[in-house]
């Protein structure tokens, strides 16, 4: 059994209006595991310049699938913050 605190790195992607707000398309974010998507979003909003304007509860996806904020993230996951969808 491993003692101590494990951490993981997730790749966070921003799209459309969110990418404009934070001025970038992606960021590597380190979180303490276990962590949820909500933890990743909090971390992003606290640490990334310009990210304060992001909603506290944005639409999110992990590894190309829609997830809720309480979904677990693992090291290496691709987390996406999605503005309100407007396709079609």
């Amino acid at each position: 059994m491993q003692l101590g605190v494990a951490s993981g790195t997730v790749r966070v992607q921003f799209f459309a209006r969110y990418a404009e707000m934070v001025g970038r398309r992606e960021a590597a974010v380190v979180v303490t595991l276990p962590a949820t998507v909500g933890d990743v979003v909090r971390r992003v909003r606290e640490e990334l310049p310009g990210a304060r304007g992001l909603p506290e509860r944005p639409l999110t996806a992990v590894n190309l699938k829609h997830v809720k904020l309480d979904a677990t993230v693992r090291d290496g996951d691709e987390v996406a913050l999605l503005p309100p969808i407007a396709g079609g």
């Binding site: 459309a16 190309l64 699938k65 309100p84 969808i85 407007a86 396709g87």
Partner: protein, 159 residues
């Protein structure tokens, strides 16, 4: 093969994908960039997507349609990039043995696309502004970019 394309959508190609002599009813939906009285001089829309996820999500929606209407075959193409008013941004085609299945499955696919596929649009307007469109279809939240024509008018507030 991707469900996304940067070129004009060919309805004929989609029809060919799903047609067969046992499927006598085909329903198609075309979404085109609108410039009507509700819009405000939209000349084009710049569509962007989370490409890999949009493609995966479109595939999942087609699989669901196939599960619900096993006799139907559905095809979809979503165009990305700058699309001029009047041109198609999405085409969905469903062929089925009977028309009710074709209509229902086609409607299902477009409703799910609108709800789930990570695509965004920015309206490019006659006055030079560019506006993100929010999901209700109303362009609201956006950093407004004053246009040259507005500046040229001397800022009297009438555009």
């Amino acid at each position: 093969m991707s469900y996304l394309t940067r070129s004009p959508i060919s309805l004929d190609a989609l029809l060919a994908e799903v047609s067969s002599p046992e499927r006598g009813g085909t329903c198609a939906f075309l979404g085109t960039v609108r410039n009507g009285p509700e819009e405000h001089g939209v000349t084009a829309i710049e569509y962007s997507a989370y490409d890999e996820m949009a493609d995966a999500e479109l595939g999942r929606i087609l699989s669901e349609a196939r599960e619900r209407w096993p006799q139907a075959r559905a095809g979809v193409r979503h165009r990305i990039g700058k699309i001029t008013a009047g041109e198609a941004s999405i085409a969905i085609v469903v062929a089925a043995p009977h028309r009710a299945q074709a209509f229902e499955a086609c409607r299902y696919v477009i409703e799910e696309v609108k709800r789930r596929v990570p695509v965004w649009k920015k309206e490019l307007r006659l006055d030079g502004t560019a506006v993100w469109v929010d999901p209700s279809g109303q362009p609201t939240t956006s950093p407004p970019v004053p246009s040259f024509s507005r500046v040229a008018e001397g800022g009297d507030g009438h555009v």
